[in-house]
Amino acid sequence: MMRLSQLRAAGWLDVRHSQPGRAFALSAVGCLVGLGIAGTALFQTKATSTMFVPADAVAVVNQQPISRIDYSAQVRALGLDPLHASRAERRRVVEDMIREELFVQRGKELDVALVDPEVRTAMVRAVEAQAAANALTSAPDMPQLRAFYAAHRARYAGEGTMQLRDLVFPPASGAHARDALRGGEPPQVVLARLQGRDSGRLDGEEFYFAARIHLGEPLFAVAQRLKDGQVSDPVTLADGEHVLVMEVQRPPRQIAFEAARVRVLSDLQAEAVARFQAAEAAFLRRRASVQLAPDVR
């Protein structure tokens, strides 16, 4: 160790003259002190704390307030009555929320999303949900709803219904059956005379969607054009010649705006959500720097 007299002799204590050795030594000391302070702060000290808890928080954890409303939700989630929960029960809820907040903060420090696929999925969902929630908060006014209704009138029609008989006849007898039925002969008589059968595909009155499934697309297309009491031309399928007798046809009826407006709002919001989410993805992509490896370009 250098003594004071040696430092004086070397001119280190004379601040009127520059001394490279002194400058280096002081810099080194400064660096060591700085590292020491940083290391202590990193591993030992607590984060800066505020002096009071805001009115709308039950606690502040490393400057992050824990919302009273979240606390209230947590109390309810545990099946406790917020009005009658004991002090110990309330304290337990707060302690649990503080623990959760500490772990969330630690999770951010550790960047757990980098390695945990569940955290990644949850984060993706959360950002999508955020974009969707933003879309919901902008309430459309009545002219916007009316304009949307006018632009998508087909969506706001009730499902049509039909009740018919699907009669199947042997090859080459469909035309005779059609003529007989159109002439007013009862279906049961025509079926017996021409050795036909009722396919039974439709059981009473059915919605269009169900009739489409039960009849199949070719027969449903024919059925949709028939009016009450009309008989179709024969339609040849693998199992014979089908003749449809329409008993009751109720085409889809337009629902008035007043009756449909809640659905209109819902549909408008759904479109807004999709638009906001697409915009969010486009924005993130636009501001990102993405390099592709040659094999996936």
Partner: protein
């Protein structure tokens, strides 16, 4: 010199008044937030209701109407609550987290299926209903309200209590479940339409799943509590008017 003294005095007085106002606001908000919403009484309640009116006009009136009597969204003045039982704490939770609002804490446990479709319910399989079956269920709901059984109501009851799965959300007595937001079907208060058979048929056929945005993160907790207490006051006014 005199001018400067006057200016300094005015500045000091204005600063003192400003500080007093801020302090008073903070004190009122603290008094509001540090008790359970259902235990808020007296001056704190009056403060909340007065401030909640403005929040409601800005954020809620577009759907619920300026007077809260509904429009696109439900009537909030009729003492009929979908979620919870009308306690301020229940209302506060709905305001904060919304209904089918896409948030993780959103109230989103059930939708009304669209029985006139190939897949009535997105969450799990339930069967479609035929037009006469829906008409029978409508007759059963009329029976629940009016108590006049008909053959159609008996058939509709069987669908309601079994194959249709209606009992699962609305309860076997049709009185709904405030935990999942399913309405009471026996009280003649209707969320959609005018309560006519045609309107009820349409709701059963086409389903329904209204949404309400979540305001947590968009409004401060203080504002959320204020508007919750204001909404509760709308219903209380109706109750008082009814009693008189």
């Amino acid at each position: 010199m005199e001018v400067w003294r006057t200016a300094a005095a005015v500045t000091v007085v204005l600063a003192a008044v400003g500080a007093a106002l801020v302090w008073n606001t903070q004190r009122s908000q603290a008094a509001l937030m540090r008790v359970d919403p259902d235990a808020t009484v007296g001056a704190a309640r009056q403060y909340a209701v007065a401030h909640g009116r403005g929040v409601f006009a800005d954020r809620c009136a577009a759907c619920h109407g300026r007077d809260g009597r509904g429009g696109l969204g439900p009537n909030l003045t009729d003492r009929d609550w979908l979620y919870g039982t009308g306690r301020a704490g229940d209302i506060e939770q709905v305001v904060a987290y919304g209904i089918r609002s896409y948030g993780p804490r959103s109230f989103d446990q059930a939708d009304m299926p669209a029985y006139a479709s190939a897949r009535p319910y997105a969450r799990y399989p339930i069967p479609s209903l035929k037009p006469p079956e829906i008409a029978d269920v409508v007759a059963y709901l009329a029976y629940l309200r009016k108590g006049a059984p008909t053959p159609a109501a008996v058939r509709g009851g069987a669908i309601f209590q079994n194959r249709g799965g209606c009992y699962d959300c609305h309860g076997t007595d049709g009185r709904g479940d405030p935990a999942i937001g399913t309405p009471n079907l026996t009280d003649n208060i209707w969320l959609h339409g005018d309560g006519s058979d045609a309107a009820i048929y349409q709701t059963i056929a086409q389903g329904s799943a209204g949404r309400m945005p979540a305001f947590a993160g968009r409004l401060s907790d203080v504002r959320i509590r204020e508007v919750a207490l204001y909404v509760q006051s709308l219903s209380a006014q109706t109750a008082e008017a009814g009693e008189k």
